[in-house]
């Protein structure tokens, strides 16, 4: 327990083995050629002395870093946990670390996080969607670090983007529901500060209005809705419009809430009321009846976003827009 003791430097290690600090640097950074005996001596001394390199100094001198900034609205909700896991996995394999920042859907907080990460020499940036403050967008576009915007593809990326066609996702879900014979549609969605959710809604809306079917969308939530919101929302929707025969929820958590309510009330699913979600999350597939939903390969997007950064860093050209396919999961609820 040596709290407050002065931190060791490369020079301390070098002195201990009678070498110059440059030799220690070469061993630790893995650059340049070092005699293998010397290398071993260095590594032994480093281990024994408990030396921890000061990457702040290293990064200042080299103007490089192995940190990739990852700025997401949330890390607990919906698709983001898996996206983040995919990013972390891929970066780690290449010796890079994600530095994660959470915006809580607040663009100002996003701006601050982006600035902070850039000020720490981030080697690359992964950010959500195309919604940024003007200054955040400027900082990202001026930075030498490659930038990948994820989740969405319908927009003009600062550098690169990797994501899904959410409009099509909404459209495909509705086409399935229509093919099942549903005619009176309810929708319980939410307004995030992102294009993705609204794009899905537009897909739903477009197909329905082309088919000439009704869409009843009474409730819009401002925060990412959870199970309870789905329960509440469905209860109110059915009270207002008992004739609706299928309800699409903004995410699988809400749909789960709707399903739990249906069981409690003794409504037959899908005969009395059919239910569908978005996301493909575990909980929806763990219900007594599997949820019909759109599965987004969340981890895949994360991995691809990370790979894009890594490839760009070694000078490999990458496509500006990378669209990922999604899957319609046909469950037993719609």
């Amino acid at each position: 327990m040596a709290k407050g003791q002065k931190r060791l430097t490369q020079r301390d290690v070098a002195k201990a083995i009678g070498m110059s600090d440059m030799t220690v640097s070469r061993v630790l950074a893995g650059r340049g050629v070092v005699n293998s005996k010397t290398r071993e001596k260095v590594l032994k001394a480093v281990a024994e002395m408990g030396y921890v390199p000061n990457r702040v100094a290293g990064s200042l001198a080299s103007a490089r870093s192995n940190q990739v900034g990852v700025v997401l609205p949330s890390i607990t909700v919906g698709i983001f946990p898996d996206v983040a896991a995919g990013i972390a996995m891929e970066l780690e394999k290449a010796g890079y670390n994600p530095v994660i920042g959470i915006t809580d859907y607040d663009p100002d907080r996003e701006e601050r996080l982006i600035e902070s990460m850039l000020s720490w020499n981030a080697a690359g940036m992964i950010v959500n969607d195309f919604v940024h403050t003007r200054r955040a967008a400027k900082l990202l576009s001026m930075s030498p670090a490659p930038v990948v915007e994820i989740m969405q593809v319908a927009g003009d990326p600062i550098d690169h983007c990797v994501g899904f066609n959410h409009f099509e996702a909404g459209a495909e879900l509705v086409r399935h529901l229509v093919s099942r014979g549903y005619r009176r549609f309810g929708f319980l969605g939410w307004h995030g500060m992102e294009f993705a959710a609204s794009a899905r809604f537009e897909g739903v809306q477009t197909v329905l209005s082309q088919a000439g079917f009704e869409l009843f969308a009474p409730s819009w939530y401002n925060a990412p809705p959870g199970i309870e919101d789905g329960t509440q929302g469905l209860r109110e929707l059915r009270a207002a419009r008992p004739d609706i025969d299928v309800v699409i929820f903004g995410n699988d958590l809400m749909a789960t809430g709707g399903y739990l309510l249906s069981m409690k009330m003794g409504w037959q699913v899908p005969a009395d009321i059919a239910l569908a979600g978005f996301g493909g999350m575990e909980i929806g597939q763990s219900l007594s009846q599997k949820l019909t939903t759109i599965d987004f390969p969340r981890q895949g997007v994360g991995r691809t976003a990370a790979r894009t950064i890594l490839n760009l860093l070694v000078g490999q050209a990458m496509p500006k827009v990378r669209e990922f396919p999604f899957d319609l999961l046909i469950g037993e609820t719609a």
Copy 2:
């Protein structure tokens, strides 16, 4: 879009307004006195030029930083999302940023993350539990940064700890169940690389063996179990021992899986089978019958851990051990 352009420095800003770089530094760092006219000129130039301070250089020069390392097993599972949210909230108020690392319950990964954060001059460290590799523990104890170990209190902290008495939590839950008349106990737990889960189990075990009641604990999971594991586990447990009258699950997610299975099978809860969990998570309280569980004030622990770091950084002494109370939530399932 000026990708790759050379990054502006304080000196560039200073030159633009005919001042020395030190003046710019003083304004931006908020240290020392600056004429308010000068300050405004500086801020205007900074905004116009889109200058982003290089904190790597700043941190090297000052040997300080506003980054607090937060190393957790997971950010998506159980109590950790809320803990992390509490930490982030409290740090942010004080102008500090959390740098989050995820170990996935892998001690080697934890060691690497801790080393990485210390090598970046972390101002403080928040880590989970008392289980670390020897080297990780050494790095933490040698570092000048204050260290807070969270979740647990039964152990010897490196510097400080903030957490719960998990043994008591297990004991209290069982005392409640015993008072309800249950006699044949099932337990579906899991072995994390942490003391918390095993301490809870010991609390359960101790009270039961004192009371002379039976404990049947067949399944142990190695990864954080989810809904599906609870479903599966309860199905097998009931097949093996139909006489068990109450099952305690390692977490609320598993308990939810058990509850969903019970509904599907038509088992009356709690008459045929009573169910209890640990955690106090939303999902357990959203079921048709509220789950009986132990609620840990997760956000509070996070906030307190962060406050501990912040106070230590300004030289304020803090207690070595801080125990947080938990709550028995008596629901309708046991």
